[in-house]
Amino acid sequence: MTAAAPLLQVRDLEVRFRAGGIDLPGLNVPGFGARYVNAVNRVSLSVAPGETIGIVGESGCGKSTLGRAILGLVETQGGEVRFAGDPVAPRDRTSIARLRARAAMIFQDPYASLNPKLDIGEAIAEVLRVHGKAAPDAIAARVAELLRLVGLSPELARRKPHQLSGGQCQRVGIARALAIEPSLIIADECVAALDVSIQAQILNLLMELQRRMSLSLVFISHDLGVVRHLCRRVAVMYLGRIVEIGLTEDVFAAPRHPYTRALLAAVPDIDPDRALAPAQLRGEPPSPLDLPAGCPFHPRCPHAQEICARGVVPELRRTGDIRVACHFDLPPMTQQGEDP
């Protein structure tokens, strides 16, 4: 798998948002200068053709911003995105257009991502027209084909989004993404708003499409169960950084980073004979505006030592097949999934 040239390469990507304060050059009054949130902090990853990678983490960890930054939907402050070997120039419209002709996004809220005034046939046709993917007289047939591909009846083309269920709207969102015949899809929490029976239908659809079209998929989700099911590799983010990345089965079987461990232990298991695990983490993630010194996870980390609070931010380093950003090699977890 590693032999294939990666389709998507992200290197040291940085996204910073202004969060209040006054942005005046030379202004140096404490508490008045512009403040920034480092939403994505030097993130690197690569995705092979046909591969699925999951990006997991809690709210505010930067996973959605990372997805948007890859497609040039938010401005980046540093680093590089390469698609099919070519660097993407974020400010160059033709470069962005070239990227978006082959990479599409699926969003969380299926209603909000569709124009309520367009019927869904029109919403799909729009994509075909903008990207010149079908001749004008072939558009209707292609729309019907795309609807069938995502498991919808072509008769639904005349409906407006509000006449469809959430699951049906999400299928339309997928049809719109597929309309450009993409080689990469970035799916941002695309099943989070769906009931579990409908979620299973959409996951099945994604897996099937992916196999048939050898799509690469960046699957952003807070749901570890879904990621485990769908993704070959997984990256765990905390406060804008990747803290652990590796093959899904390795990371889930033997997580190395204390945050990954706590995250996995906190997922309520469907097994009725497993008691609720004691809460592993105290408190909540700190404000990204006011990151702690050293390792950003250290105030909540059960293994934190002095070095974690004052030392440098730990870089990702390889241990076995996993890369992990922690100063320590923690002993393996016990059978019960708790730290020894």
Partner: protein
């Protein structure tokens, strides 16, 4: 005698029956999970228990809700106001819309103590500090004068629990209390609810769509679909050996229950829209076992042990 006994409850919007045949029982210290997908009627059932249905839109058309043996359905609004808060507390998915943004947290807790118990300002304040401590908020004496926006999401959920418990109710109705929380914070709040149950003997109705949450916290379980209870009984029985095809299908389509990358056994079709339910068993259009008899409505009947099932194909109780 059970703390709460709901019998034959039905809720209608105009001429459409949205929820019917609801039977539930809950004893002291028991956690009952009310599970179902969106539109299954779990939230309006909870609101009906508290008589909090939006006036003029939804109404209880049938049935009784007995709390400590007293039926709440015929009570006046004034009498209900005493039940809410004093006998039953309620918490919701989104603390932001249920905490007053311009009122200090401590005052929101003290308000109901002063209103219902006529406590003095000082006593109510003491109770508020004690409650904040009980729900695990650090520095309760200091945080009592904070506003909701100064709290994080998890802390707001804790504060809402403190408000709900201010007058020491015996029953807590929790409607998706952890759905908006991150998983590590969810674990903390669930742990808190179980601690409160153990310490105070609180009975809890936990409304959720998350079967993992149910498996880890509930004693018993009621699975709702399209406005009816499909199956009800001890948690372990239902999760280990579901008797209703819907319960079974719901368990099977969880991503954790299939091999990675395998197709999930999804439930075909869509749940029906509220009020336009299919005839007979409401699950039959999506049910793999459906047959002709499913056009007749199955009653919720005992199916062995403490389990009740509304399915024509559920095994009849074995003769003891």
């Amino acid at each position: 005698m059970s703390l709460l006994a709901v019998r034959d409850l039905a809720i209608a919007a105009g001429r459409h029956l949205l929820v019917e045949d609801i039977d539930l029982d809950l004893s002291e210290g028991e956690v009952l999970g009310l599970v179902g997908e969106s539109g299954s009627g779990k939230t309006i059932t909870c609101r009906a228990l508290m008589r909090l249905l939006p006036e003029g839109q939804l109404r209880i058309t049938r049935g009784s809700v007995a709390l400590n043996g007293r039926d709440l359905v015929p009570l006046s609004e004034a009498a209900m106001r005493k039940v809410r808060g004093v006998e039953v507390g309620m918490i919701f998915q989104n603390p932001n819309s249920h905490l007053d943004p311009v009122m200090r947290i401590g005052d929101q807790i003290a308000e109901s103590v002063r209103y219902h118990e006529g406590a003095s300002r000082a006593d109510a304040r003491k109770r508020a500090i004690d409650l904040l401590r009980q729900v695990g908020i650090p520095d309760p004496a200091g945080r009592i004068s904070a506003f909701p926006h100064e709290f994080s999401g998890g802390m707001r959920q804790r504060a809402m629990i403190a408000v709900a418990l201010a007058c020491r109710p015996r029953l807590l109705i929790a409607d998706e209390p952890t759905t908006a929380l991150d998983v590590t914070v969810q674990a903390q709040v669930l742990r808190l609810l179980l601690d409160l149950r153990d310490r105070l003997g609180l009975a809890i109705i936990l409304v959720t769509h998350n079967l993992g949450v149910v498996a880890q916290t509930c004693d018993s379980l009621a699975v709702m679909y399209a406005g009816r209870v499909m199956e009800r009984g001890p948690k372990r029985d239902l999760l280990r050996a579901p008797a209703h095809p819907y319960t079974e299908a719901l368990l099977k389509c969880q991503p954790g229950s299939a091999a990675p990358a395998a197709q999930l056994p999804a439930i075909p079709g869509q749940p029906p829209l509220a009020g336009v339910f299919p005839e007979g068993c409401r699950f039959h259009p999506r049910c793999p076992r459906a047959a002709g008899i499913c056009r007749e409505r199955p009653a919720l009947l005992p199916a062995g042990g403490k389990r009740l099932v509304a399915c024509h194909f559920a095994a009849p109780p074995r003769a003891a």
